[in-house]
Symmetry: C2
Subunit: 300 residues, 2 copies
């Protein structure tokens, strides 16, 4: 949003993390993207709203209720709003448009699907759990045997998703967990196919830097499921729909191995410490995704 007009950006967002708690429909990824674009996110905590208060959770705790998934007071309003609108027949897309409009977000935010898709993880020698039970409840400190996206077989992309990809000048796959954040999108019918048709203009940023995830369990999850937790492993997972992979300078030695997967490799600083870093990376991605764009060295 700092290098192009925000209204020219469509964000297709994972809803495999969605969950129902206390009767409320919670869409953590949609909310995180919304709050961040609205400038309302809490940078220090890394999730939720700045200046958040916790009266509801404190009282729920007193009642002996489930408080492992912390819902701030202001954040709860989003869930109440969404749940009420869905209950009277609005689609998740419609609700998302309403929320982003109310919060002054100009980027077009689209859930990957209006149909329910739920990421389910079978733990090693353990039960199958929801994404939030794995990620928040167990702080992803458990090994995973397999992952599936319940509902993806029959889910159709939300209105506008396929055209947005088909018509985009550049498609960016953000540096996110390939298994549980990008994976659910690819599982929705038709989405991977349309991405593949745009392969030349699809540029991804590796979430793995020097064999490790900057945050979260992407590296462990890849290894547990048999994927090499390196930029080469990412390239292998993405090769069928990604034309260009941007890897961090720390991985410059792996560029040839990435290109051996049939994926053009661009080496650049990918760690976004500041909004300026993010803007620079975004500009590079837009250039990299265009035929006349950056070369492998990342120079523009």
């Amino acid at each position: 949003v700092r290098v192009v007009a925000p209204g020219d950006v469509t964000a297709v967002v994972n809803t495999g993390d969605d969950t129902e708690l206390h009767g409320l429909h919670i869409s953590p990824d949609l909310d995180t993207v919304t709050y961040t674009l609205a400038g309302l996110n809490d940078d220090e905590r890394g999730w939720g709203l700045a200046g958040e208060t916790w009266s509801v959770m404190d009282s729920l705790d007193r009642l002996g209720g489930e408080t492992w998934f912390r819902l701030g007071d202001r954040d709860l309003a989003t869930h109440l709003y969404r749940t009420q609108r869905l209950a009277v027949g609005a689609t998740l897309s419609e609700v998302t448009s309403e929320i982003t409009a109310a919060l002054g977000v100009s980027v077009r935010l689209v859930p990957m699907s209006d149909d329910p898709v739920r990421t389910r993880l079978t733990l090693l020698d353990g039960p199958e759990v929801s994404f939030q039970e794995y990620f928040v409840g167990r702080r992803h400190a458990v090994s995973v045997e397999s992952v599936r996206f319940a509902g993806a077989d029959t889910a159709t992309p939300a209105p506008g998703v396929l055209p947005a990809i088909a018509d985009a000048e550049v498609v960016v796959v953000c540096p996110s967990n390939p298994i549980v954040s990008i994976g659910p999108l690819l599982a929705v019918r038709g989405l991977a196919d349309v991405l593949a048709t745009r392969r030349r203009d699809v540029v991804a940023v590796s979430p793995i830097i020097a064999g490790a995830a900057l945050k979260g369990p992407a590296d462990r999850l890849m290894a547990e499921l048999g994927h090499e937790p390196t930029v080469v492993g990412v390239a292998r997972l993405y090769a069928h729909f990604v034309g260009t992979l941007v890897v961090d300078e720390a991985d410059s030695a792996a560029a040839d191995a990435v290109e051996a997967m049939g994926v053009r490799c661009v080496v650049a600083p990918t760690v976004m410490h500041t909004p300026d870093d993010a803007a620079a990376l975004a500009a590079l991605l837009l250039d990299s995704g265009r035929p006349s764009g950056a070369t492998r060295s990342g120079q523009r």
Copy 2:
């Protein structure tokens, strides 16, 4: 609870006011009784919790959500708790026990039924609305043509309701709206019948004083539905299951007319300005409901 051991009191509470909002199950009457007995109620506002905060409603307002039914942050925790427990199969009775236990309430609180019963009002020349749409949404400033209790035909009394009435030393019908607060209880199968078998020991307090309700629409509602909005009208509505009606001193002249309905009439101060007033009235009620109890003059 100031004149008998709280543990000896069972409160059978109306759930016809229950509603679903934002996906949450809200039981306003159960909550009001719970908060009041826990000493957590807001005396000045007359509903909800003392020291309440409104972060969720403020944020919901910003999103353009429905905020006509004000839910405080601390109060919301109760609804989240109840909704979550009901979703995993707990009954409303069980949830009510859990909430009262957590808040240190010794009185046994029982919903009239674990099955859904919903008070519906057809407005004069208007639509049928829920109780909360009538009471809160329209501030009961509309005329009512008819009232029904949807679901009451098939609802059964919650566990313990019928035995509590059958075994009680005295059954007190509190000074509440005869149509929409006491009415739903009487509509639940078997409840009016067991009350009738205890008629001699059932003592009611008239919510109508000198032809008017102390608060709320009881007087107008009675008139609109063809009932005389006086203590005599109350006696007529209650005669089949109430042996004694306590009327305020302001209605002493109507005592004979009440007794002409076949209901013993006790005249006493019934306006509860202070906890001491409430305790004195409670003591009178317990005496009045006992065979050897107070005389018509209200002297003990």
